[in-house]
């Protein structure tokens, strides 16, 4: 076997390989474009409903209650309150508010709930999992750090997560930040477990041992050499985590503990709409389908990432 460095070079970088596989996965690609569209919508939603108010989600027009989508405002409504473009694209709700404007604003709120919650849960999960995986053997008195952290994780996994979240949200003062933080605080267990498993296996890899032998400080070994190699599964679970945070938020809204008004989220538009399912079906179906499509897109992208990042799955 010749050791020719030219011949040994891999034909493509890991990133190119990842792109090649990801591009072949039509479902994931579809999800990816939906998410790009969503991201643009969310930023535009924030911009056009709060900074430069083209669509005002909070204007109440009692003369225009329950108008179906694409209807024109009645003549009684004040001209300053007319929606942008002079048409209710998604109809109006029980207070005559423009559902399109509310959905537009809600896209940013719903997405930020997902991202912040996942950020918190990833932070806790990576920290606890990493410490348990790297410093696991260190003894604190009579038990090791690993035992301490992992037994706590196991104990938290025994509880019904949704019930814990519901209890905490119900007891704390209602606000959008409470919901984000609570969802994040109660969903780190899975991340901690697999980050620990990744760290345990990476710790024994040759390049880490080589780095130790070179006398590189531990902090640098962890953050420069180990964390980037443990991140692939974290991305996957982050993507799926955003999806489940959005679903959890809609579940909380259904039980009456969602984001309090006037903030609109897709979850609370949907749960407000459920009371008018016969009279104004668009109030129920538009947010329901929006949540469905977006969560589906996150799940498909997550699965596509998993396939593309995992060499073991690829070979089959």
């Amino acid at each position: 076997m010749s050791v020719d460095s030219e011949a040994m070079a891999p034909p493509e970088t890991p990133w190119q390989e990842f792109l090649r596989i990801f591009k072949k996965d039509y479902q994931a690609l579809f999800g990816f474009w939906v998410l790009i569209l969503l991201l643009v919508t969310a930023v535009a939603g924030k911009a056009f409903t709060e900074w430069w108010v083209l669509f005002d989600p909070e204007v109440v027009r009692l003369t225009d209650k329950f108008l179906p989508p694409f209807s024109v405002p009645s003549l009684d409504s004040l001209s300053v309150d007319r929606p942008f473009g002079g048409v209710y694209l998604m109809g109006t709700d029980e207070l005559g508010r423009d559902v399109f404007a509310r959905m537009f604003q809600g896209s940013f709120v719903s997405l930020s709930i997902g991202f912040v919650a996942v950020g918190i849960s990833l932070g806790i999960g990576i920290l606890l999992g990493g410490v348990a995986g790297f410093y696991g053997h260190v003894k604190l008195g009579f038990i090791t750090i690993e035992t301490l952290i992992m037994r706590f994780t196991d104990a938290m996994m025994c509880f019904p997560t949704f019930f814990l979240i519901l209890t905490a949200v119900a007891l704390l003062p209602p606000s959008i930040y409470t919901i984000m933080i609570i969802i994040g605080l109660f969903s780190w267990m899975g991340t901690a477990r697999f980050v620990r498993a990744e760290f345990l296996s990476i710790r024994e890899q040759d390049y880490v041992i080589a780095a130790k032998a070179l006398g590189i400080p531990e902090v640098r070994i962890i953050f420069r050499h180990m964390v980037p190699n443990a991140l692939a599964p974290v991305f996957v679970s982050a993507t799926i985590g955003v999806a489940s945070a959005i679903l959890t938020e809609s579940g909380l809204s259904f039980l009456g503990f969602g984001v309090p008004p006037p903030d609109a989220t897709w979850g609370n538009i949907l749960s407000d709409g459920k009371g008018f399912i016969f009279d104004a079906p668009w109030l129920f179906f538009i947010p329901g389908m929006a949540i469905f499509v977006v969560v589906l897109a996150f799940n498909l992208v997550g699965e596509g990432l998993r396939e593309a990042l995992n060499p073991k799955l690829r070979s089959r």
Binding site: Q27, R151, F152, D154, A155, M156, M157, C158, F159, P160, T161, F162, F163, L164, L166, T167, A168, A170, L171, L172, P173, A243, L247, S250, G251, F254, L255, G267, L270, S271, K274, I277, F284, G288, I291, F292, V295, L296, N299, L300, E303, L313, S315, R316
Partner: protein, 320 residues
Amino acid sequence: MWNFILRNIGQRLILLIIVSFVAHSFIHLAPGEPSEVDPMNPRMKPEDIAKIRAAFHLDDPLHVQYAYWIRDLASGELKSFKDSQPVLPKIWDRFLNSLPLFILATILVWTWAFPAGIYGAVFRGGVYDRGTVFLSYALISVPGFFLSYLAILWVVGWFGVPVISIKTFGLEHAEPAYKMMDRVWHLVIPSVMAAIGGIAVLSRYVRSQMLEVLSQDYVRTARAKGLDEDTVIYGHALGNALLPFVTMFGLLLPGLIGGSVIFEQIFAWPGLGRLAYEAILARDFPIIMTLNFIAAVLTLAGTLLSDILYAVVDPRIRLH
């Protein structure tokens, strides 16, 4: 073997203690007191609130409250804050109501997920496989209550049967067969709704596990020696693929109990989930703590059982 079981039970007991700490401290760390549940009531004087706080030991330090809770729980004298009824019988009644839902949902999950996942893995990449994979993503992506409402509309509109609550009111004098069918309809729809998420998740695990096994050397050997495909798949691969799922049994339980809060609320089913919801609304701490604790204990028992079963069916496990 006994050694293994004893060690497992020992670990679970330690976890049980941590679980009880978490269940207790979690609720007391959050602000919001049971004595504040009715702040607008003019008849509620400060001395009344003090009386309530003293009666429920709310002024004691946390570890003392914990001791009271454990003592009352163990002696069965724990009382609800709301109506001073003993907690355990209350939970037991509701548990019996929820039990048919849990059992039917579990049966549905385990009987649907396996064929769906195995068939998808065997015919990987086919129309059926792609269809079910996509469908399982779709099903975990729908908000549970959205789908339930659609199901209710469909069932009520199409079959003309009521599905809300346990049974239809005022059917006491109907024929037994009619009453029976009424109960079945009321049970099936919420169970299916509660099971859908589990089916979607579990069938994906089954599929990937089956794919993993099908790529093993012994499957290749079995094919190489000329066995027909059915023997290879059902005789050699299937058993090995199913083995790890013995351990999933306990882990699906928290999801079922947590999900029951939403589904029992939708279907007005007077079970554990509704009890939990009512307790949260009333700041009824003993019920909330005990429910959390019991759910965790059930999960612990479930995982213990499945670990032991796993060790029985797969002797390799005991070596670790």
